[in-house]
């Protein structure tokens, strides 16, 4: 019979967990995120990641900044967002700076931002591969470091978060020179 042949719906694999202090917070967050259009799933966190309650929300880790913004907008309390698995739990914090004379390139993780030393105008962003990166490229180019919105406020993915690190470092470098 046809219904017996129906394929099992693929289970969601997001690679990230939102951790909470209590079960009510987790359930509120799940509802808020689903309402915002995110694919999420209530799960039990592994023992090593328990922060208080036995319920977490599995999310697509790459969407971390958008998810954190949605939770804050809905006043949904959470402890942290962490990757599942045995790898690094910390976002990469290494920043490298390259001096091109008239311009400076700041690299954070896989993202780079280059600005004009004199004017503070962003002349290029590069690296990354998430769909908000070309959007951020278009939003940031030709704007001053003090005039443009911060990448983490208009981006949705981990690439945007790394670009925000490069942006913050660039802003600090430029303001030090003023």
């Amino acid at each position: 019979m046809e219904f017996l042949k129906r394929k099992k719906k693929p289970s969601f694999e997001g690679g990230g967990l939102v951790l909470f202090r209590d079960v009510q917070d987790a359930m509120k967050a799940e509802k808020a995120l689903k309402g915002a259009g995110y694919e999420v799933k209530l799960v039990a966190p592994p023992p090593t990641l328990r922060k208080g309650c036995d319920l977490a929300v599995e999310v697509n880790l790459v969407e971390q900044p958008g998810i954190e913004r949605a939770l804050k907008e809905k006043d949904a309390d959470y402890v942290s967002v962490v990757p599942l698995g045995t790898g690094s739990l910390e976002l990469l914090r290494v920043v490298k700076v390259t001096d091109f004379g008239k311009w400076v390139m700041v690299k954070a993780g896989n993202m780079k931002l280059t600005f004009d030393k004199e004017s503070g105008i962003i002349v290029n962003t590069s690296g990354g591969g998430c769909p908000d990166i070309p959007h951020l490229h278009a939003e940031l180019i030709d704007k001053g470091l003090t005039e443009t919105p911060h990448p983490r406020d208009i981006g949705f993915t981990l690439c945007a978060l790394m670009l925000d690190r490069a942006f913050e470092e660039s802003l600090a470098l430029w303001q030090e020179e003023r």
């Binding site: 958008g66 990757p83 390259t98 993780g109």
Partner: protein, 299 residues
């Protein structure tokens, strides 16, 4: 050749069709798309190459997405349903939100193709393939140095969460990262690692390194990694061996940067517009293909 990826135009629906250039724009299915960083730069570079080689231009599958995933999901679902029917010789996956379950379903659909396409992934499609444990199903990945560290880290699901000691690795450590990526089955059959020195790795062996011309400014220019992927895709579509295509793509991109007299403020379209001149001067020397005539569009 079918190139699939998103562009940062939120209102753009899922579109598909043959690509053509019109000034600084790509035209697909009647829609005009500016040539900027990302899938548009990649398609533009591929189109510049196919136009020069006088072969069939790329087909594109494009949707608008600014990071919220709607366009990415539409692309995945369309490919899952239609890749067997479309049966491209080369399938290039580019800027799409990494969604592991959809990447798995897409790879299952590709396995059902009567003729398996040459599979190329860059950007977040490469992240999804690695995170899903499907890297070895792909023929070519084109990571930059940070992304190579990501492929080498067996536990990372995104380059933002790689182990610091891997990220700190100098480009000279690329061979070690490559070996780790293959050991954990997180590499495609061929890797073109883009960096100060470009590495071409075929079946776990480094077959070429390219470091000239040295144009360090290219790293700052958004889209210059995308153009390499577009070039290698077009050259594979032109039936070059994968490693030959990768070597010529890397050389061509560097030379296009030199021809454009690139600065960190140069835009990617200024690099792309140099590709025909680079091919005209060097393609014969680099490939042995010295006469391009006839082909696509001829009666």
């Amino acid at each position: 050749m079918l190139i699939a990826g998103t562009v940062p135009i939120k209102s753009l629906p899922l579109i598909t069709g043959e690509v053509r250039a019109d000034g600084g724009y790509l035209v697909v299915d009647g829609y005009r798309i500016p040539c900027t960083q990302g899938t548009a730069a990649m398609v533009s570079a591929a189109l510049a190459a196919t136009n020069y080689l006088n072969i069939e231009p790329p087909q594109a599958l494009i949707a608008g997405d600014i990071g919220q995933g709607e366009g990415s999901r539409a692309i995945y679902e369309y490919l899952i349903q239609n890749v067997s029917r479309l049966s491209p010789d080369v399938l290039v996956l580019h800027y799409c939100l990494p969604i592991i379950t959809l990447m798995r379903r897409l790879c299952e659909s590709v396995e059902r193709c009567a003729r398996k396409p040459i599979m190329i992934a860059d950007a977040s499609s490469m992240y999804a393939a690695k995170a899903a444990g499907l890297a070895s199903r792909f023929d070519i990945f084109t990571p930059d140095a940070a992304e190579m560290a990501f492929l080498a880290d067996p536990d990372a699901t995104h380059p933002a969460y790689i182990a610091r000691h891997l990220f700190d690795a100098d480009i000279a450590q690329t061979p070690n990262l490559v070996a780790a990526a293959y050991q954990h089955k997180n590499a495609a059959r061929l890797l073109l690692v883009k960096g100060t020195v470009d590495y071409v790795v075929s079946n776990e062996s480094i077959v070429a390194t390219i470091s000239e011309p040295n144009v360090p400014e290219l790293e700052a220019i958004g889209g210059t990694g995308d153009t390499i992927t577009g070039l290698v895709s077009a050259l594979v579509h032109a039936e070059l061996e994968l490693h030959e295509a990768a070597i010529i793509a890397a050389k061509s991109n560097r030379m296009a940067g030199k021809f454009a007299q690139a600065t960190p403020a140069t835009r990617v379209w200024q690099i792309i517009e140099q590709i025909p001149s680079v091919f005209k001067e060097y393609l014969c020397e680099w490939s042995g293909v010295c006469c391009v005539k006839g082909g696509y569009g001829d009666d």
